[in-house]
Symmetry: C2
Subunit: 706 residues, 2 copies
């Protein structure tokens, strides 16, 4: 059962954080750990993305930016940088984890490049590879790999994005000609936001409702040629340009529509569903629902790589902002001689260090996700359950890391003031490009609902075979538990127990097990509560259950969010346990504590309302976090250095030392100026001096009178 954390009213500031001023970060060891299992791939990829040829040039028109990105894709082919995931038979490495690890580093050069490469090889190429079979591979993979066939992944429609199962494009089999007829029935069924769709795409995997013999077998992918050599559309194909976007303007997103476009029957990517010449349909997966999710599941690496790219962007932003913040000075509160370094301001620490901690958490979580991906795609651990776990993890981590990236980039931009707004410092540019990461490849809110449903399913599984009455009673006992927490009875008891060991209670919040318990309890209790509330849906009409579900939609998403945070916390904890250097481990532990305590602080009301933390203990949290910040602050530079990004990656003007140089020049000027004796006195000093003189003169006059 959950322990309630309580304690004396004041925690002495001096005992709760161990005083280890000697500890330093071994950036080499930490850096190696962060590079993860595919360190070798990341090193090669980072050398590549450090090259100017691949860097985003700011201020290009979207036309020029698109052309540049297209050229860069050819460059990547030349550099043999894009083949890791493809089968060895076609010159690839069959290395799925390494492929994503290398691919996501492209964001460092230009997010447009990452996503355009992702469209070509991660979506279009992967669809042919995973949904197609041998003859498809032979026919198209070489051209896809070497960019002879720039292509599209034509799934989303104007009318359906999140609900992909409901797309309206049809692929109807015509046995008379042994062809599929691809057709767009109305405007909402136009393919939309399709990368390579506006200009470059010669072919596409088009997703459509497969209809044969009068039966709709659901969404399937078909290989469809779009354009002629000269770039004009093939007969029946049409489309338009999506135009300028909030970012990622190196990619030519566009709309596509099809008017009775005929493709050979064999263009159906038929690994999970096939149609015979007589029009009969067959599939290795009987359930249409499961078949659909299996097809989609082969594309999970898209989400995984967005998770990794988002983490990389956060790392870049923090490297630049923290470097600058240790050089930039403003206001001289503590001394007349020297202004304060931004990083020494408490508020500044509050703004940057929790995000640094969250970035570490997301980085460790991402590494585990990559390993899971590799396990599944390599076939090492490829059960249905493994695939489900992989998808749930991706659906949990991608929302958190992509939102974190936007939040971090924005905070870094604001924390560096006017400098942060200049495009040369990259915060605004990266933020604009990464904006769409939170809604594409699965809208974050929709993904978190999938996670929540999985949590509810798992919860229900625990009660499988148990009759409904037991479940009802369990829910009741949960509610009773809550009442116990709520009533404060448990708290009172715990306060007494706590008082037996003042020290133990004082360090309770920094205790790893306590943090874990608090974060775990939050998820478990809320899932149980939700399950009890949604249990009412049984036996109700579709409309009524939908309404009940909707009444808890916000809570569902919050629970999934809490779950993902717990998983990140666990990954962070497992990650730091691999560190051998005691100083590094100690500092990373503090950073993990900061991460955990900020999570608890963010949801503090929940812990209070439900009796998990006493008001007394909760009141110490803010001060404790502030002291943690001050303790981590001296290591901030080391902690970003360990990310391992050099100037060729960060490319932020303010992180290049110019600020330091300007500060030194100003100080040197003041010193020379003062030494030469020509420095003007300031008015305040003058006024103070004349006031003293007046007083002295007055005193003199008074003396003279006497």
């Amino acid at each position: 059962m959950t322990q309630t954390i309580s304690g004396p009213q004041q925690i002495p500031a001096t005992v709760d954080i161990r005083d280890d001023e000697q500890a330093t970060v071994d950036t080499a060891e930490l850096g190696q750990l962060l590079l993860g299992r595919w360190a070798h791939v990341r090193r090669v990829a980072r050398e590549l993305v450090g090259r100017p040829e691949l860097h985003k040039i700011e201020g290009l028109t979207h036309h020029d930016h698109r052309r540049r990105c297209l050229d860069q894709l050819h460059y990547l082919v030349e550099q043999k940088a894009v083949h890791r995931a493809f089968p060895t038979a076609f010159g690839g490495d069959g290395d799925h984890g390494g492929n994503v690890a290398g691919f996501e580093e492209l964001v460092v050069a230009d997010p447009s490049l990452q996503i355009k490469a992702g469209v070509q090889w991660g979506l279009f190429g992967s669809a042919v590879m995973h949904l197609g079979t041998e003859k498809h591979h032979e026919a198209w993979l070489p051209g896809i790999m070497n960019m002879e066939i720039p292509g599209c992944f034509a799934m989303t429609e104007t009318g359906h994005g999140s609900d992909v199962a409901s797309i309206a494009t049809t692929a109807t089999f015509d046995p008379a000609t042994d062809e599929f007829v691809i057709h767009t029935p109305f405007r909402a069924a136009w393919k939309d936001y399709i990368g390579n769709g506006a200009i470059d795409g010669r072919a596409a995997v088009v997703f459509a409702q497969l209809i044969t013999n009068g039966v709709n077998h659901g969404v399937h992918g078909l290989y469809v040629e779009l354009r002629n050599e000269d770039g004009t559309f093939k007969p029946g194909v049409g489309g338009e340009d999506d135009g300028i976007k909030g970012g990622l303007n190196g990619i030519d997103n566009g709309r596509l529509h099809f008017t009775d476009v005929r493709v050979p029957r064999t263009n159906l990517l038929n690994r999970y569903g096939d149609v015979a010449p007589d029009g009969s349909y067959s599939s290795p997966i009987a359930s249409p629902g499961r078949r659909f999710f299996t097809m989609l599941g082969t594309l999970v690496q898209g989400r995984v790589s967005l998770d990794g790219a988002a983490v990389a962007a956060s790392k870049l932003a923090l490297t630049a902002a923290i470097t600058y913040s240790t050089q930039r000075r403003q206001f001289n509160a503590s001394s007349d001689l020297r202004e304060e370094v931004l990083m020494d301001y408490q508020r500044h620490q509050r703004r940057l260090l929790p995000r640094l901690a969250a970035t570490y958490a997301a980085a460790f979580a991402h590494e585990e996700l990559l390993e899971k991906l590799d396990d599944v795609f390599s076939g090492d651990h490829d059960t249905d359950e493994d695939r489900q776990d992989l998808e749930t993890l991706a659906a949990a981590f991608k929302p958190l890391s992509t939102w974190l990236a936007l939040d971090t980039l924005q905070e870094c931009r604001e924390a560096t003031g006017g400098q942060g707004f200049l495009i040369e410092n990259r915060f605004a540019s990266l933020r604009a490009d990464l904006d769409v990461y939170v809604t594409f490849e699965g809208d974050n809110n929709v993904l978190l609902q999938l996670v929540a449903k999985r949590l509810l399913t798992d919860y229900a599984k625990e009660f499988k075979g148990v009759d409904f009455g037991v479940l009802a009673r369990y829910a009741v006992s949960q509610a009773a538990g809550r009442t116990l927490h709520r009533s404060g009875l448990r708290r009172v008891a715990q306060t007494v127990a706590d008082s037996g060991s003042g020290k133990k209670s004082a360090i309770a919040l920094r205790d790893e097990d306590t943090q874990h318990e608090l974060l775990t309890d939050r998820v478990q209790s809320r899932v149980a509560e939700l399950a009890a509330e949604l249990r009412g849906a049984k036996g109700k009409s579709q409309e009524e259950s939908a309404a009940l579900f909707n009444e808890h939609q916000n809570e569902l998403i919050e629970v999934a969010h809490a779950h993902a945070e717990l998983l990140q916390w666990e990954a962070f904890t497992r990650g730091l346990q691999q560190i051998k250097d005691p100083g590094t481990r100690e500092i990373l532990t503090r950073l993990r504590d900061l991460f955990g305590l900020c999570l608890i602080e963010k949801d503090l009301a929940w812990f209070l309302m439900n009796g998990r933390l006493s008001s007394q203990r909760a009141r110490t949290l803010d001060g404790y976090i502030n002291r943690l910040l001050a303790k981590i602050r001296p290591h901030a530079l080391d902690l970003v250095e360990a990310f391992g990004y050099g100037p060729e990656h960060v490319r932020s003007a303010i992180a290049g030392g110019a600020e330091q140089q300007r500060q030194e020049e100003a100080v040197e000027y003041a010193r020379r100026h003062r030494a030469s004796g020509d420095a003007p006195i300031d008015e305040k000093t003058l006024l103070a001096r004349s006031a003293t003189e007046r007083k002295a003169r007055k005193a003199g006059r008074a003396r003279a009178k006497r």
Copy 2:
């Protein structure tokens, strides 16, 4: 004293929100109220900003965008749209409130246009008008007003932004030639981020440390010519382009530096400080500190207009996103026939409606701020205290409204998915342009610290003349009060009192006085607590007090934030009290409740930790807010319609009804298709049917056997 809010464990969902399905919004009355005191000016301004000539064209290079904005400034002159604030003697109206009201609407056309106009007339022109005297007005105001002299406001330096008093550019008086020598001593003293600085500025008000007779009298503004007719720099002046920015690329921000540039003595804008030919300095304001703040204070309208522009941007975003969300459908949870409208999803309501409420709050607060500005600048109420109040209000509201705008624009962009990312829908474009509003004209975090210091000063004033022992005792009694809250003793008593009137306690949270009391108490208690903690600074060294202050910096900013929220809540409440139509008033009251309760929810942990809300009551808040959302949802469209922005202002493709048309076309297609009998059956139905058939056949076989 503060009432602790407590009550029974469950609030019946049916009694706490009055059932007034009949209430509708009188959009005309509400619209008129929102237009405020300067409705006539806003109407004229909105007609103007609806014209295509002034609209931002997306995708221009920053060079072309700059040229367009410059041309637009000339267009504004032709349309006589820029003279409201200037003296009647020069063809202006001397109408300060109206000037800002009209000016801030420019953001609707293009934020670059608003800010470039703000640089020319609101900063450069205002500095000449407010800091200069008659001969300056005669010499330069006509040329400034008619754009013959495009100019700069050259205050910020690369090395000093927030701490403007420490800028390093010098203006040293040389009595030999009766000139000031403007000089940039080192790189950090370059003027930076200066609008019109890179290309267009012919002249500038340059802020510099005024040195005469060996004394530095602090920062003063001087009129300095920058460029010749052909655009080349005058001798001694140099600079460079700030290049591309995260947004606002219609403005040519640049850096400027001065090498012994000489200007006549009379170029000193001498309203608040003058130098005689003999070099002697005089000022109507004796204190250098007060003089500096008085000079800066004349420029407060910049902050006020950013506040207004931010509110306008939020209104535009919500109009587009809410309109689209009432048309867009996705997933068919409740029915097989029709998908759900986005706006009916609880999460979607949670995302958009609290921001709608906050935008109303910010709008009412802004209107009061405008009136305050007009009172001061018209001279109607122009005491030192009035000016201080105006500055504190501006410093409180500008951070909240500019952050709200970014947050709202982003949420609208995400809530509209891929559509939201297309530049044609404007969310991403407006967000990029408004990004810098949170750090320029006073960094939001710095402004909130000013507010906090004012709160502490006011608090200290209450104890003026009281000896220190009393203050100490007061602080102790505060702490005791906290302990009382904390211990729950008060809560227990209150629970008993509550139980006397079940209904009263059930509606306690929607009660206006309760909300007000909770929000007020939060500010007062936290200020008192902070004051007690900072009291320790007395008698300490500069370094020690700075450290003590820094240890509470985050809390200071949080308190100021809470104070600004309270002021917004009060303005919202006063605003809705002016509404005559009962239905409109009822709905606006709900929206205000939503605003207030979301504020309380956001800081719920504070109210819990300090015994202001019982856990039982706090647990009802989430559900209560969800029910409020559902009640407000039917009026969402009316509430954005009342903002009064037409299609020529919103200019968001998704708000134009295309989505509705697409949906109808899809439904119509399905209907026709089904009627014609050629609709394919879906596989699930087929499988279900064949399962039934198998079962029937089996049953038939069984029957046959019998």
